[in-house]
Amino acid sequence: MTALLSVQNLSVAFGATTVVSGVSFDVQPGECIGIVGESGSGKSVTARALLGLAGPRSTVTADALRFDDTSIADAPPRRLRSLRGRDIGYVSQGALVALDPLRTVGREIGDSLRLHGGLNARQRSERVQSLLADVGVPEPGVRAGQRADQLSGGLRQRAVIASAIALGPQLLIADEPTTALDSTVQAGILDLLDRLRSEGTALILISHDLAVVSRLASRVLVMRGGRIVESGTTARVLTAPRHPYTRQLIAAVPTDRPRGTRLGAPGPGAPFGNSGDPSEAGPVASARPFGNSGDRAEDALETAVPSGSAPRVPEFPKGADGGPGAARGGAPEFPKGTGAAGAREAVVEATGLVRRFGDRLAVDDVGFVLERGRTLGVVGESGSGKTTVARLVLALDRPDAGEVRVLGEPWSAVPERDRRGRRPLVGAIYQDALSSFDPRATVGAILADALSGGRSRRPGTEVAELLEQVGLDSSVAARRPRLLSGGQQQRVAIARAIAPRPRVIVCDEPVSSLDVSVQAQVLDLLDELQRDLGLSYLFITHDLGVVRHVSDDVLVMRDGRVVERGPTEAVFEDPQHEYTRRLLASAPRIAGAAPRG
C-alpha cells in the first residue's frame, strides 16, 4: 500500500531559528494519526508546511514531501491551491474566527465549491445544505443563511469542518479542532471526525490534549522542540511510553487522577505510576487527613441544601465513605468522627442564590458550604451559570435572592463600603491571567500593590518571597506580565491572590488556557498552597478531569441549577443524574491509562 502522504526529514526555519527539524511520517489512506505536543512544539507549523502555508519568511526543506503523486515542495502555486482546496482539507486552530463574520455560513462553505467545484448556484446551495446536514448541523437550510456570530461554538466548528470536506478531500488536517469547546460538544465533533475517517478520509489530528488524540488516532507522534520524540501506535505509546517526555505528558493529564496526587514530574527518570498508585499518592494524601473521606463532606453538603430545594437535588448514595472512590484515591481512611466532625469552619456559605438576566435565570437556587482547607468544584458547560456563581461569591454582582456569607458574616447583603475592608479574605484567579493585570504595571508593582493594600508599588523583599512561594525567580519582578509565558502569568496571578492572605480563592477556569504539563504544574502549586496556607478553593471549570483531580466536593450545574452534588469521587464513580452521566461519558480520557476508561 502506498502512503497517501509521505514526509521525509521535514525542516522548517524562520530566519535563523529552526522550529521543526527532521520530522518524518507517512499517512495511509483512511488512517488517523495524531500529533501531540505543547504550544511551541512545532506541531502547527508542521501542518502548515504540509499545505505550503508555512509563511513567506519560512524556509521549508525536506527530503520528500509528497501527497499522492505530487511533490508539495516543488509544486507550482496553482497546483498547491488546488491541492489545498480539493485534496487536503484544513480545519485551522482558530476555527472560531475562521469564518468571515460578515458572510453567511452557506457562502463560506460554498466558496470552495465555487472555486474548485464547477457547480451552478442552485446545485451549490443544495450541496452546502447536504454538507451541513452531513456534519450534524440541525436545520441546515436555516443555518446556511446565518452568519458565524449567530452560531454556537460547536456549530461553527461543524461549519468549518463542512467547508473543509466540501470537495471530499482524501486528507483532512485538523489543528486543535476541539480546543475551547465544551466537553459534550467536543465529543460530538470527535465523533464526526471519527465518522469521516471511517468513511475513508485520512486524518491528521493535532492537539495538545493526549486524551483527544487517543480517541481517534491509530498512531501518535509526540513532538517537542520541533522534533518527534516518540511515535508508535496509540495503544503502545499510551501504555508503554518510551520517552520520558511522553511519560510526563501522560502523567500530567488530570483525568482519573485522584485528589492529592502530584501531576508534575518529580524529576527526570523517576518512575511514573498509573493513576491510583498508592506509592505516589500516599505521602501527599496523608498530609491532608480529610482528603477523601466522603462522609464528612456529605454532612456539610446536606446542611447546605435549603430544605425547600432538597427534592430537586438527587441524593448521592449513602455509604460513599466505603465507595470505590475513597479507596482508589489512595488516601488512608479515617474512622468516622476523627477530628471532631462538624467543627470545621465554614468559610463561604451560599444559600438560595438566584440571579436573573432579563427573563433568563442564570443562577437558580444555588446553595453550598465551603469549609476551611477544602476545595469545592463547580462543573458545567458554557451558560450553565457557573461563572455567575463565581461573580456572586466575589461580590462583583448582587444576587436577586439568597445570600452569600463569608466566615459567618454577611457578604453579599452589605454595601460595598462595608465589604471593602473584608475584601482581602476572598481572592480570585481568572482564566486569562494577563488581562487581569494593569498593562502598565510590572510584576513587582502588581505584587507590591497587592501586598501593601494599594499603598505602595515599590517591590521589596516581600515581593521576592512571594515570587519564590509560587515558584518564580525574583528577577521576574522587573518584567511586565505580557512578556511571561502563560504558566508564569498564572503564577503571578496566584501570587497576587495570596498576597493579602485570603481565606478562600475563587478560581475561574484557572488552567483552561494552559498546556497540559503547565496546567499540571499550576494545579500542583494550588494544591501546595492550600496545604501550606489552609486555603479553601471554589474551583470553577468545565474540565471534568481537572475538577476530579482538585476538588473534595463537586457541584454539577446545568441551566443555572445544581443537578448533582456530593463528594467528588462518589459523583464520578456513581453519577445519579442523567446529565452528569452524559457529561462524564463525553469527557475524553486516555484509554490505556484509565482503569475503567
Binding site: L394, L396, R419, R420, G421, R422, R423, P424, V426, G427, A428, Y430, D432, S435, S436, F437, D438, P439, R440, D449, A450, G453, G454, R496, P500
Partner: protein, 261 residues
C-alpha cells in the same frame, strides 16, 4: 520617515522659540523696490507684494501657527477629557446625556462650528484658537469615553475591586494612566490637524490679522497673485503641510510603538 518628521519638528521648534537664529531679518520690514522677487540666494523663498522676505515671515510665523495648533489641541482635549470622563464614569443618564450632546455637536461640520463661534465673538488669534479647540472636542471626547469604558470594564479593574480598592483608587491608579497613554497619541495626531484648521481660519480672514506673519494669512494674501507669483502661496502652504504631516507621522509612530511593545 520618523527621522525626517523629527527633523522637521526640530526645525519648527527652533523657528518658534528663537526665530532670529534662522532668519535674522524683520518679518514686517517692507522694501517696495524689492517686491515680487522670485526665490534667489538673497531671498530664498522670494518676496511678497511689499518686498517682505517670505522665508523670514514663515519662520517668524511658526510661533503663531504652532501656538494656535498646540493651544487649540489642548483646549479640545481638555474639554474632551471632562466630557469623556463624565460619560465614562458617571451614572447611566449622564452618559446618555453627554453622548447625545456630543452627537448633536458632531452633526455640525467642525469648521462651521468654529465659524459660528467666531461670528459671535469676533475674529482674532485667541477666538480662532478657542474655536478650533471647541470644534475638535467632540471627536476626542468620544474616543476618550470609549477608552474609559474599555478600561473601566476590563478584567484588571475587576481584579482591583476584588482586592478591595476604592473607586477613587481605581480611577487614579488604573484608569487615568491607561487613558493618558492614548491621550498622548491623540494629542500629537491632533496638533497637525489644528494647525491646518487655524490656518484655514486665517486664510478666511478670521484668524490672525494682517500684517502679522501667520501661514494662513500669508496664503490668503498670496492668493491674489497666485498666477504670476507662485512662491507667495507655495511656501506658506508647504510649511502648513510639512508641519501637519510631521506631527501626524510622529503620532502614528508613537501609536505603532505602543501597540507593538
Amino acid at each position: 520617515m520618523e527621522v525626517v518628521s523629527l527633523l522637521v519638528i526640530a526645525f519648527l521648534a527652533v523657528a518658534a522659540l528663537a526665530p532670529f537664529l534662522l532668519a535674522p531679518g524683520d518679518p514686517l520690514a517692507i522694501d517696495p523696490l524689492d517686491s515680487f522677487q522670485p526665490p534667489s540666494p538673497a531671498h530664498v523663498f522670494g518676496t511678497d507684494e511689499s518686498g517682505r522676505d517670505i522665508f523670514t515671515r514663515i519662520v517668524h510665523g511658526t510661533g503663531a501657527s504652532l501656538t494656535i495648533g498646540l493651544a487649540a489641541t489642548a483646549i479640545g482635549l481638555g474639554l474632551a477629557l471632562v466630557f469623556g470622563l463624565l460619560a465614562g464614569f458617571g451614572p447611566r443618564w449622564l452618559d446618555f446625556g453627554t453622548t447625545r450632546l456630543l452627537e448633536v455637536l458632531f452633526a455640525f461640520p467642525g469648521l462651521l462650528f468654529a465659524l459660528l463661534f467666531i461670528v459671535v465673538y469676533g475674529p482674532g488669534v485667541v477666538t480662532s484658537t478657542i474655536a478650533v479647540g471647541l470644534s475638535t472636542a467632540p471627536g476626542y471626547a468620544r474616543i476618550i469615553r470609549s477608552r474609559v469604558i474599555q478600561v473601566r470594564t476590563s478584567p484588571f479593574l475587576e481584579a482591583s475591586v476584588v482586592l478591595g480598592r476604592s473607586a477613587r483608587f481605581r480611577i487614579a491608579r488604573h484608569v487615568l494612566p491607561n487613558v493618558a497613554g492614548s491621550l498622548f497619541v491623540l494629542a500629537t495626531l491632533g496638533v497637525g490637524q489644528s494647525i491646518v484648521w487655524a490656518s484655514s481660519l486665517s486664510y478666511l480672514g478670521l484668524g490672525a490679522v494682517p500684517p502679522a506673519a501667520e501661514w494662513g494669512a500669508m496664503l490668503s494674501a498670496g492668493r491674489t497673485y497666485i498666477s504670476s507669483f507662485w512662491w507667495m502661496t507655495f511656501f506658506p502652504g508647504l510649511f502648513i503641510v510639512l508641519s501637519a504631516a510631521a506631527t501626524t507621522l510622529l503620532g502614528r509612530a508613537i501609536q505603532q510603538r505602543g501597540r507593538e511593545s
